[in-house]
């Protein structure tokens, strides 16, 4: 499973980093930075929560 983050859409709410800090971090300005882009199936629910919580719809998961 691959995780992606569109920094241009990001509005620095930090919700992803609070819900799944093992994958999502924040820069100085609060925008998202991916700690890694690969994730396994066991992480799906937790990462989907972060994706759903993003107010800017800047995150996505894909089966790749």
């Amino acid at each position: 499973m691959r995780v992606s983050a569109d920094v241009d859409r990001c509005m620095a709410s930090g919700q992803c980093a609070l819900l799944a800090p093992e994958v999502f971090g924040t820069r100085e300005d609060g925008t998202v930075v991916l700690r890694r882009s690969a994730a396994d199936e066991t992480e799906r629910d937790r990462l989907q929560d972060a994706v759903d919580a993003c107010p800017a719809a800047a995150l996505s998961l894909s089966d790749a």
Binding site: M11, A12, S13, G14, Q15, L18, L19, E28, D29, G30, D45, Q48, D49, D52, A53, P55, A57
Partner: protein, 398 residues
């Protein structure tokens, strides 16, 4: 008024002005002529375009929440309210303790509770042939849901709602009949929140948000103080009730004013989510919040100085035609991905956004069978330049 907005004496953003209506034309002119405008009477900058509201909201380093967001910090408090009056990294620590409880998955698990509460209240409303939508539905539904989450008795609704009405930002004579009414409400509400914490400390509950906050300890042994715990209780109770109440009331009022859109919801062309989102955009229950500049910042040709108060008007950004076509029309199928009703950037994005949407959807769906046969009276507005609030909304079910 004609001509460019050059004098600030023509600008009236007082609570009383909003008690009549939201000054939509004023915001349109500000967006066009003075998107960063010094408002003398308010002692603050007024930021009104979608782009600039979002930009400043995201810029939490230069525009801080630490001096209060509704008005300059109450000097008698002497400490910052948790977590709305904090900036990262301090804010992050406090926000992280509650975030998971309001994550999309947590909100989905509350759906049954929201359905039950809404079903009971809508059932009673229908049986009574209607009433005051605010007192009978729009207020009680979010309160009872929040009471469930925090773990306070539903019977506390009247008192807690009254305190919330008085302490949140307004100049409404119904809610603030005298200056000492505000001080008294603040004192009593705080005492109540402390009592809730004390009760929970003595009788902890399983799987309980407040119990988890009380027992939380980080790896250095740091725990939340009683003041901080009481702040959480108050923020959750108020944040979850003052706001969603207005969303629900505005939604019913807007559907009554837009019968073609109501038809499209009833025939299935629109879903509840779309109606809720368009209501959020049109009504913006939280119209603005303030920040304090931490350094001199040049913005849209204006110089904002260190210490200046800056107010960000989401209610105006939500009507910006640079982002939303025909912004003053209720068009529920539009792309609302850029609505700013829950915040437009930065870490203070509404904790309860998903929960608010769920409550809006559920009440709409429960009212669906009677939406064609209701008569909605004129909303009575709250005198507030913070909330776009409805005090009373008479609804008769024919």
């Amino acid at each position: 008024m004609t001509g460019p907005l050059t004098t600030v004496s023509s600008l009236d953003l007082s609570a009383g002005r909003f008690g009549r209506s939201v000054p939509w034309e004023t915001f349109a002119r500000l967006r066009r002529d003075a998107p960063v405008c010094w408002y003398e009477d308010g002692g603050c900058w007024v930021i009104s375009t979608h782009a600039l509201v979002g930009q400043v909201n995201r810029d939490f380093r230069r525009f801080s929440s630490a001096s209060g967001i509704a008005k300059p910090g109450d000097p008698t408090r002497g400490r910052k309210r948790v977590p709305v009056e904090m900036d990262p990294p301090e804010h992050t620590r406090y926000r992280s303790l509650v975030n998971r409880s309001f994550a999309p998955s947590a909100v989905r698990s509350l759906a049954g509770t929201v359905e039950r509460i809404t079903g009971d209240l809508v059932g009673a409303f229908r049986a009574a042939g209607g009433g005051d939508l605010v007192a009978d539905l729009a207020g009680p539904i979010p309160f009872q849901v929040m009471a469930h989450i925090v773990g306070v008795p539903v019977t506390d609704a009247t008192q807690v709602t009254a305190w919330g009405n008085t302490v949140t930002s307004n100049q409404d004579p119904d809610y603030r009949p005298s200056p000492d009414a505000v001080d008294r409400a603040r004192r009593d509400y705080t005492a109540y929140c402390h009592a809730v914490v004390a009760e929970r400390r003595s009788a902890p509950r399983e799987d309980d948000l407040l119990t988890n906050l009380i027992t939380y300890q980080d790896e250095d042994g740091w725990r939340l103080s009683d003041d901080e715990l009481a702040d959480y209780v108050e923020t959750l109770l108020t944040g979850g009730t003052e706001t969603t109440r207005h969303l629900i009331a505005h939604m019913i009022a807007l559907l009554a004013e837009n019968p073609a859109e109501l038809d499209r919801y009833l025939d299935g062309s629109l879903d509840a989510d779309q109606v809720v989102n368009e209501t959020l955009r049109m009504a913006s229950p939280v119209m603005q919040h303030g920040r304090t500049a931490q350094e001199d910042v040049e913005l849209a040709g204006q110089l904002i100085r260190t210490g200046d108060r800056v107010t960000l008007w989401m209610v105006s950004g939500n009507r910006d035609d640079a982002v939303f076509d025909d912004p003053d029309r209720f068009v529920a199928h539009r792309d609302n991905s850029k609505l700013m009703s829950f915040g437009s950037g930065g870490p203070h994005y509404c904790l309860g956004a998903q929960l608010a949407r769920l409550e809006g959807r559920v009440v709409l769906e429960h009212l669906r069978p009677v939406l064609r046969s209701i008569e909605v009276g004129a909303p009575e507005r709250v005198w507030s330049n913070f909330f776009n609030g409805v005090k009373r909304l008479p609804v008769a079910i024919r």
